[in-house]
Every structure is written in C-alpha cells, then in structure tokens.
C-alpha cells in the first residue's frame, strides 16, 4: 500500500521550480534602483520590442527541445528568410508587402521541413543536421546577393518591424499572438501531448500509437516558421536585408529555453519558462546597456545566468 500523506510545502522545491521568476523579479528590482529611467514606459516599450526576435526563436526552440532535439540553424534561417523577403519587398519590384511576408514564412517552413526530414526520417542526429543547415542556409543567403545588403524596401513592409498599434509595437503584438497560439497548441491539444510524449520516451510513444517521426519532423517546421517570422521582423527593423542577419541568434534562443527550465534531453519543460527566459535576457541586455556595462562583460554575465538557471533546474530532478 502506498503512503497517502500529502507532501508538505517545501521551500527547496518552490525555489527549484519557480526560482527563475524570483530571479527575474530581483533583476528588475536591481535595475530600477540603479537607473531611474529603467521603469519608464518608453524604456519598457523599447525593451519589449528588442526582445521579440529572440522570443520568437525561443518559442520555436522550445518545441524542438521538448522532443529532445536542438535547432542550431535558426540564426541562418532568420538570415535567409529576411534576405529573400527583402528581395521581394523592394519598392522597385512592385510586389505587395504580403507577398514578401509569404516568401519569408515560406523559406522558414521549407528550411525547417528539410531539417525535420533529416532528423526524423533520415535519422541524422539533430545537432549534426541543423549544424549543416546553419552552414548551408547562410551560404545560400550570401550567394543570393553576393553578400551585398538589400535596401529600398516598401513602406508598408517596414511597418512590420517599426510600426505600432497604439503604444504597442507590432512585433510585440505578433509575439503575443504567437505565444497564445503556442500555449494552446502545446497544452490543450493532443498534438502538444504527443510532443511531450515523443520527447519523454519516443519508444513508449511509438508503441502507444503515436507517429513519432511525424511529430519529430513537425517541431523543426515550427522552429523554421518562427525563424521566418523573426527574419521578417529583423529585416523590417533594420530596413534592409542583410546577408549576415541573425548570425549567432541560435545561442540566445537556446539560452532562453534552458534558463526557463526546459531540459535539453527532452520531455521536460514549460513554455512559461521560456518566456521568463527570454524576458530575463531582454531585461539583462537593456539594463546592462543602461548601466554602460561593457558588452564583453555582458557575455560573461549571460553565461553565468545560463549556468545558474540549469543548476537550479537540476535541483528539481529526482535523485
């Protein structure tokens, strides 16, 4: 007979589970004390606008990480989708802005699908397959414009990254909508359940009748599409397609997911954690910039936060 006592509230468990939120609150408190301008509406709006790109990538990355995979190519997909959508969005082509958006999303979907097929059906380890895509996509992007930037984009297209609805920047609205959709998909649909099962134990998932290959492939497509959206936002913000756009963005995306408590081995994780993760990173970037901390120091601090968050997470693991 199992013991039926309820476990008492344990401070250690609480900290291990929700430590990241506490950390975030403390960081915000610290910066607001150090710089009065931190908590102003202007700064907040700006800060959120800045974190949308990493936010999008981190959300896509969460799906991938939940299945025990990794997507190292998101930075390159951002570049590729940004570049190709820019080529379409130039005022000289006369193409409507939504065509450029479709192209951007399409590139993300296509490259994501290639990743997904490689990992799920060709059985190439995710690390290798997406590493290859990182290289290949970046190469294609450079080749497309011979590494030259693509300026002269249409007004409406540029609004995507720099426009507002009321005081809220459009990218933030896009992020919020995507977030809500992803929450619902992950936690309220059977697809979401299948993602968790596939990551937690792909063998059991398969025996239980889940099409593990399809689920695995699909998360890379999601990650690719998210990177596509991020590419559109980036390009419209910097007002031209840049061949090096998105370079290195995969690191921050993975960091956000990991800080949030998502296990890289799959099956364990939480979307709200990812949100806390990229918010912490956005707040750190903003706050440290305000305090004129050198960007080299910022890199060190970022690394320390990632390690700290992972150590906190390992406290929740069963011994």
């Amino acid at each position: 007979m199992e013991k039926t006592e309820k476990k008492a509230f344990h401070i250690k468990d609480f900290i291990a589970h929700y430590g990241v939120i506490i950390g975030l609150i403390l960081i915000i408190a610290y910066f607001s004390i150090m710089r009065t301008k931190f908590l102003t509406m202007d700064n907040m709006v700006n800060m959120f606008r800045q974190m949308t790109i990493n936010g999008m990538l981190a959300i896509g990355m969460t799906f991938v990480v939940l299945t025990g995979g990794i997507d190292l190519s998101v930075g390159s997909i951002v570049g590729a989708s940004g570049m190709f959508s820019a080529l379409i969005a130039r005022t000289e082509t006369g193409c409507p802005w939504y065509l450029a958006v479709l192209v951007g999303l399409g590139i993300g979907l296509l490259l994501g699908a290639v990743n997904g097929i490689a990992v799920a059906y060709l059985k190439i380890p995710a690390f290798i397959a997406t590493l290859a895509m990182l290289s290949i996509a970046r190469g294609i992007t450079y080749m497309a414009t011979d590494a030259k930037p693509v300026p002269g984009l249409s007004e409406t297209f540029l609004k995507i990254g720099s426009g507002n609805i009321g005081i809220i920047p459009i990218p933030v609205i896009v992020l919020a909508v995507v977030l809500v959709i992803c929450f619902v998909v992950l936690y309220k649909t059977r697809y979401g359940r299948y993602v968790f099962a596939t990551g937690g134990n792909p063998v059991s998932a398969r025996v239980s009748g889940i099409n593990v290959k399809l689920i695995t492939c699909s998360v890379y497509i999601i990650s690719g599409v998210m990177a596509g959206v991020a590419g559109l936002i980036l390009t419209s913000r910097v007002t031209s397609g840049l061949a090096a756009g998105g370079d290195g963005y995969e690191v921050d995306a993975i960091a956000a997911a990991v800080i949030g408590g998502n296990s890289l081995s799959g099956g364990r994780g939480r979307l709200w954690g990812t949100i806390v993760g990229f918010v912490i990173m956005g707040v750190m970037n903003n706050g440290l910039d305000m305090m004129a901390v050198s960007s080299y120091w910022q890199l060190v601090i970022k690394g320390l936060i990632i390690s700290g968050a992972v150590m906190l997470d390992s406290l929740t693991k069963d011994k």
Partner: protein, 494 residues
C-alpha cells in the same frame, strides 16, 4: 553464529514523507537472508542506505559487531558491502574485465595493466564456473550473463555482504539454478547474502532467514523453516489472499486471431498459432527464444519477412502500431519503463496517451471527459495514486504496470498481448492483474501472454505454445501441462 550485519531501528524520511520506521535486519554469516515486502514497503530504500546512497536519519548499523557509518557508495564498498541492482549498473560499451575492475584497474600510475586485468578476470570467472569471454563488451551479453558479471564484480571486491535485488527477474529457470549454485558457494565462504525477490518458490528454496517489511515498517523476522507461503503472504500484505491464480474456465469461442507462416530472419521462423475468444494463450520459452521479437512484429513495430495475420478470419495488414491499434490489438510490453510509460508525464496523461483521438474534437482535448476517463480507469484497476497528475515515475512497479494496462484497456481491445505482465511486481498486485485478465477474457476477448514464470504460465493459460530459438515447438492443451515437458521443449533447439 556471528552476525555479519545488524541494522537496528532504522528511520528515513524524504522531506515530510517517512519511508522507513523502526527497521531491524540482522544477517548471519554464511546465510541467505530474504527481504520481502510489497512494492513501496521500503526494501529498496533500506538497501540504498546499506549501499551508502542514502543516509538514515536514525538508527545504528553494525558490521561484524562494530558500529559503522556508511558515508558513500565507495565507503560501503570498503566496508565489504556489494549491491547487485535490479537495474544492472554495468557500462554496456565496456568489456567484462573493464566493468569488473572499474575504478580499481591494476597498473602503475596513469597506465592500466590490461594484461593483468584480463588475466585476473579470467581467473575470477573460472572460480565462479562461469564461461564468459572477459573481452566481450558487456552490452552484447544476454541479461543472465550480465548478471553473472555483476556478481563476479561483487566477489572481486571481496564483499562480505552481498545484496541481490530481484536477481532472477530477467533470467530463466536454467540460469536461476546456476545462480543458486553460486550462492551456495558464497555461503560456504561465509558471506552474507541479502536476497530481495517476489518469487515464492525461489524464496523457500534459498532462504535461511526471512524479514518482512510493510508500508515502511518492520513486521518481523523468522528463520525460513518456521514459515510457509500463506503465512508469508499474510504478513506481507496484512490480509488474506484467497487464490493466487483465480482462473475460471471459460468456454472458448471462435478463433479470434491467427498467425500463419510468420517469419523474420534471425528472429523467428514459420510461426503458426491461433487464439480463440475467451482464451489465454501462454507463450513459454527461454529468454532469447524470439517471443518478444514475434510480438513486436505482430504489433507492427517491426516488419516481418513473410507471413499473414488473420483477425476473426479476415486477413489484416499491420504496418505500424497505429494499424494494430485500429484493429483493436493492444500490447503491454516487456519493459514498462522503457517501452510502456513516459515516466516524466503524469499518470493520467499516460493512461490517455493512446486514446487522444477519442478524447479530442478536431484540435482541443476535451478536458472534462479526459478527467472522467482517467478516474474511471484508476478506479477499475485500483491504481494507487495521490493524484492522477503525479509523475508516472513515482509509482511502484505494480502500479506502473496497471497504468500501462489502463492505457490499453481504454481502447477496449479484442486481443491483448502481455509480455511478462507481472515481472517485478509484488504478490498483491500480481493477483489483481490475474483477476483483471480473467475478467477481460470472460467478455469474449483473448490474451497472448508471454511469461518465463512457470507457475504463471501453467496457472493462467488455457493453452500453451513453446518457442525455442525462433521456432514454435509445440502446442499443449491444459491437461497436458507438465513443467518438465515445457522445459525440455524450451531447450530443444539450442
């Protein structure tokens, strides 16, 4: 006779949950002391304390009369304690010799003296009477041999106290005999063996003393001659168990499922059998006979080279588990942790995992309906949980197995394939599962049951087929069941 080990008034809590209270265990040298109790009774925790993995909160441990504190597994090893876990702790990619000498490889400074290591391993294995090549990678050995390597490792550590946790759960009767012989030799060398098992017949063959734990508390200890099976079960469970194998006779109906000419190179050849409605077909044989591989292929996890499957007379094409499930076939796999459950997910989520389509409309999961279904299954199978949201990891073996069963029962399958359904499960839960099997076939369904436990096969099956080395030897009707015949056939093709 001297006491090798005395554990007195041991207490242990994890957070606010007390798992051990007032435990007493005394092992005399040269004896086998069997530790018994239902899953969740505290046996593993007590052994982990002995092995230095946990520290007890209160209590005294004495080795050879001297009080000791066991700080770590290495400390336990130095004190002469060796653990042979239920889940083997060998490293599959390393050789037998490397595993045995892990952490204390012979050599000078940085360099390992491989020659010496392999020589010493050979001597050790010879002494045990075990024929295993010391340079084979452990992962390539069969489970029974892996276990022997673990034992060899324990002996090479000059362990005085050897703990064996369910050592025979994954090996067959012939190999069990070998193990018992080794245990006899160890006894002669005045070692003390703590043996944890659920298998009644084994226990009475091998035990000198028996200690029973229940719900984390100490029930009592006896010398084995003073106990019989009924008394033992009663003490373990705290209640009377009427019958261990409550198998009613049910008149079988038409043929529900038939396999013809089923072959897969390297695994099984020309398999023919059928099972009728209301029947339990037992599939006996040694490990490695190809039974699990056969079931995997029938269920669509692997592709056969040739053969046909017929459900109620109609030919069916099963290319993957989804096809099998659609045809109302269910498969409770051999290893619930590896293939049956998603341990990180909640109990409820595991139960509904195969039924997500029914429980959702287009996109969304119907949460209220899901909750109802979960509670229904938990009640029907008497699964013991605090809440359906607790992680599947946290349940005892018997309850975990019930969760897997619940998952399949939700699909109301017509054919249920069970692969070692009661392995590593305590007597109380075993009996419940047998009862559920009986109720299930009464409704006109059929069961294919793979089992290596002779009593179980003979007690629960209506008919038995024996597989040996990939071939199906013979089919036996209930009147023909005879333990030695089954054994003879099982070894006939090797």
């Amino acid at each position: 006779m001297k006491f090798l080990l005395e554990m007195e008034k041991i207490e242990k809590s994890f957070g606010s949950v007390k798992v051990l209270d007032g435990i007493e265990l005394s092992v005399r040298e040269g004896t086998v002391h069997v530790l018994m109790g239902e899953n969740g009774a505290g046996k593993s925790t007590l052994m982990k304390i002995l092995a230095g993995v946990h520290k007890c909160d209160k209590g005294i441990i004495k080795i050879k009369g001297e009080k000791v504190e066991i700080h770590s597994p290495k400390n336990a090893q130095e004190l002469g304690i060796a653990m042979i876990h239920q889940e083997l702790s060998l490293i599959p990619e390393m050789t037998v010799a490397e595993n045995i000498f892990m952490g204390r490889e012979p050599g000078k400074g940085f360099f390992v003296d491989y020659k010496q290591m392999y020589r010493k391993t050979e001597e050790l294995l010879k002494e045990l009477g075990v024929k295993i090549n010391p340079s084979i990678k452990v992962g390539k050995l069969k489970v029974a041999d892996q276990q022997l390597v673990e034992i060899a490792k324990a002996i090479s550590l000059n362990a005085e106290i050897i703990v064996m946790d369910e050592p025979t759960s994954a090996i067959t009767d012939k190999e069990v005999e070998m193990l018992f012989q080794i245990i006899e030799d160890l006894k002669k060398k005045k070692k003390g063996i703590i043996y944890i098992s659920h298998k009644m017949d084994e226990i009475f063959k091998i035990a000198d003393d028996i200690t029973v734990l229940r719900d984390g508390e100490y029930v009592n200890s006896w010398s084995a001659e003073k106990l019989n099976q009924d008394m033992l079960i009663k003490n373990m469970v705290g209640r009377d168990l009427n019958e261990i194998y409550p198998k009613e006779y049910i008149k079988p109906g038409n043929v529900l499922f038939e396999v013809k000419n089923f072959s897969k190179q390297g695994q099984f050849q020309d398999i023919h059998f059928h099972v009728r409605k209301g029947e339990i077909l037992g599939i006996a044989g040694l490990m490695g006979a190809g039974r699990t591989e056969l079931m995997h292929t029938i269920f669509g996890l692997e592709k056969p080279d040739s053969g046909e499957l017929y459900l109620e007379g109609k030919l069916v094409n099963i290319k993957n588990p989804q096809d099998a499930i659609r045809h109302r076939i269910a498969y409770v796999t051999e290893d619930r942790k590896l293939e049956g459950l998603v341990l990180e997910m909640g109990v409820g989520e595991n139960i509904t995992l195969s039924s997500m389509k029914q429980l959702s409309n287009l996109f969304f999961i119907k949460e209220r309906e899901e909750k109802k279904s979960i509670n229904k299954q938990i009640e029907a199978l008497r699964i013991r949980v605090h809440t359906p949201r607790q992680r599947a990891n946290s349940l005892s073996g018997g309850n975990q197995q019930k969760v897997v069963l619940a998952k399949w029962m939700m699909k109301t399958p017509k054919l249920l394939i069970l692969d070692e359904p009661t392995r590593g499960i305590d007597v109380g839960a075993k009996s419940e599962i047998y009862k559920l099997m009986g109720e299930y076939v009464k409704k006109g369904n059929a069961i294919l049951m793979i089992s290596s436990e002779m009593q179980e096969v003979m007690g629960m099956s209506d008919r038995i087929v024996v597989m040996s080395n990939g071939l199906l030897c013979k089919e036996l009707a209930k009147e023909e069941f005879e333990q030695e015949d089954i054994m003879k056939m099982a070894v006939s093709n090797i």
